[in-house]
């Protein structure tokens, strides 16, 4: 069980209003990702759910029960911190056992859960080491182990992978997704990395300045972003947003075309342009295209890795007409 409902929740620090009234429902067993730029209030929102911050007004319900004024430990949630927050003077075993010790579980039950968590997370060989003797990825797994043994109704992850190197991050991402499939427990995951959000989430909550810009599955957000902000934030590389006459031709204030929805030709096409820097990834190449005549910022185009273009070449771009996103003056989708 782990159905979390936020009802008109607000949070202000002194005069500063971080979270305006916000409603959100997280269904049992869902993997929900809060994503947004730095300072958008996503971590604050997570800490409100955890109980580490008090809400200024509104109500938080967990499984139908009012949890607004419950202390963190009583909410039945487990949190994994960005800094891992392991207890440095305790062995891995004691770190994992700590929540159970605090709950007063019998020793044999503690041992059973520790061993189960350790074998699930490949930590068995390290149980008697201190956190200081472990690598970043191992520490992350200990932090997850400490969360698992409590058998919480929901897991909260606060940017858990941002201290890991790129290769480890991909590995841990898969492990967390695997864990979610196995435990089938609600997980709330905070990140500023939209790749993590897209790959892991059942449901993404895009936040900006405390406001929810859009809630939906990754593909919903990708295919039909509700406004310009979501359009620019979701998708990598970013969507090209074009204003002015070209947008007016499509009956909009702004149009957006994703880099992968632009066809490139050296001989003919709708929009002539000049190639700038090319980023070769092997399978794909990202071209930064200048002099397209729409606005000053270069456009990004994704082409096949074999495409024989170089810096300074003249090319022509043709957008896929069915994949053009149109936005009105307020930035809302038309």
């Amino acid at each position: 069980m782990g159905r979390i409902t936020l009802d008109k929740v607000t949070k202000s620090f002194g005069e500063v209003n971080v979270i305006p009234p916000l409603d959100l429902t997280i269904e049992d067993g869902e993997f929900v990702v809060f994503v947004g730029p730095s300072g958008c209030g996503k971590s604050t929102l997570l800490r409100l759910i955890a109980g580490l911050e008090d809400v200024s007004s509104g109500q938080i319900r967990i499984d139908g029960k009012d949890a607004t004024d419950m202390p963190p430990a009583k909410r039945g949630l487990a949190m994994v911190f960005q800094s891992y927050a392991l207890y440095p003077h305790m062995s891995v075993r004691k770190n994992i056992a700590f929540p159970m010790k605090m709950a007063g579980l019998p020793q044999d039950e503690q041992d059973r859960r520790i061993n189960a968590a350790a074998s699930a997370l490949n930590l068995t060989a390290y149980l008697d080491r201190r956190p200081g003797q472990l690598s970043g990825g191992q520490r992350q797994r200990v932090a997850i182990g400490r969360a698992i043994v409590r058998e919480p109704s929901a897991f909260l992850f606060d940017e858990p992978l941002s201290n890991l190197d790129a290769a480890l991050r991909v590995g841990m991402r898969l492990e967390i997704m695997e864990l979610h499939k196995r435990l089938d427990t609600t997980m709330i995951y905070v990140t500023h990395d939209q790749v993590e959000a897209m790959t892991m989430a059942d449901k993404i909550v895009v936040l900006q300045a405390g406001y929810i810009e859009q809630v939906g599955s990754p593909l919903e957000l990708y295919h039909s972003p509700r406004n310009e902000f979501v359009a620019g934030f979701i998708g990598s590389p970013k969507m090209n947003l074009l204003r002015g006459e070209v947008a007016a031709q499509h009956g909009a204030a702004t149009i957006g075309v994703r880099p992968e929805h632009l066809a490139v030709s050296t001989s003919e096409g709708q929009w002539p342009a000049r190639v700038g820097v090319a980023e070769h990834l092997g399978s794909d190449t990202f071209l930064h295209v200048h002099d397209h005549g729409f606005n000053d910022a270069p456009m990004t185009v994704r082409v096949d890795g074999e495409m024989p273009v170089k810096h300074g070449d003249r090319i022509f771009l043709t957008p896929d007409p069915s994949k053009i996103h149109r936005f009105d003056k307020q930035g809302l989708r038309i």
Partner: protein, 290 residues
């Protein structure tokens, strides 16, 4: 920079300082050792003669020695207990956010800047004086008979005075240690269901272990040689009730003019200090590793 020539040059250049320090230590030590084997009384100049271990046997068999040894250990132990426990509690208190935090923190450190002689005099005359002291007035206001701290509980009173001086030091070091504790750890423990007391016991106290070790080691060094407070307040009395080893050596060599005996006492004190140091390092030194 680690060529043979540079290493040799470094040695040559550092040697004057090292030799000076070594001499500064060796000469007094050697002289003390030498005097401790002499029958050397300032009242009988020119009569010095070698007496072997006599000074040591007289010093160690003096009943005042046992009393002084016990008092020294009680003084050191008592002050350590009060300052570390009090320092942790005060540190926890000062770590809370409250209005006027900065000024209060500076005020807390103030007693450490008062000279031992001055603070002992203030305590003796302003607080503990049985006629005019503030404590006496307080007792009288409550209808009780004034208590003469320095004659009825001399050692305890001195422990109190010395603790007052060293509490700020312990508080300061432990407060900075508390501030360096990762807040995420406390929040994680809170999520894990730890009560405030458990958080203190399982998270904060282990984090403070190293700083407590430092406090104990540094304070022990200074507390073994407490002198001014005793001289100013009780003169070691009544009897030997508040005489510690330092004060006993002072009495032997400068009140009874027996330099030989005082030197023997000094050598005994050096040996005792080393024994205490070894015990301390054994007990808590492992906290300083890693």
């Amino acid at each position: 920079m680690a060529t043979k020539a540079s290493r040799a040059a470094a040695r040559v250049m550092i040697s004057p300082a090292v030799l000076l320090l070594l001499g500064w230590m060796i000469v007094p030590l050697a002289l003390t050792l030498y005097f401790s084997f002499l029958r050397y009384n300032l009242l009988m100049p020119g009569m010095e003669e070698f007496t072997g271990w006599d000074n040591y046997s007289y010093f160690l068999s003096d009943p005042a020695f046992t009393a002084a040894l016990t008092n020294t250990l009680l003084l050191v132990g008592g002050v350590l207990l009060i300052t570390t426990v009090g320092g942790v509690l005060l540190g926890l208190l000062l770590d809370q956010p409250f209005w006027g935090q900065g000024i209060v923190r500076i005020l807390v450190i103030a007693p450490f800047f008062v000279m031992p002689t001055v603070s002992a005099l203030v305590w003796k005359n302003m607080f503990m004086n049985p006629v005019n002291g503030l404590f006496a007035h307080a007792f009288k206001a409550l209808g009780l008979a004034p208590y003469d701290f320095l004659s009825q509980a001399p050692l305890l009173s001195i422990i109190g005075i010395v603790s007052w001086q060293w509490l700020p030091f312990a508080t300061l070091i432990l407060l900075t240690a508390l501030q360096s504790l990762d807040q995420d750890q406390l929040e994680a423990a809170e999520m894990d269901g730890a009560s405030a007391l458990s958080r203190f016991w399982y998270i904060m106290l282990p984090h403070l272990a190293r700083s407590i070790t430092v406090v104990i080691l540094i304070q022990t060094i200074f507390l073994l040689s407490v002198f001014a407070e005793i001289l100013v307040t009780t003169n070691g009395g009544p009897g030997t009730a508040s005489t510690n080893l330092t004060y006993l050596i002072y009495m032997q060599s400068l009140l009874q003019f027996d330099v030989g005996m005082g030197s023997a006492g000094g050598v005994v004190a050096i040996i005792l200090a080393n024994i205490v140091a070894i015990f301390l390092m054994r007990m808590i030194g492992k906290n300083l590793e890693a």
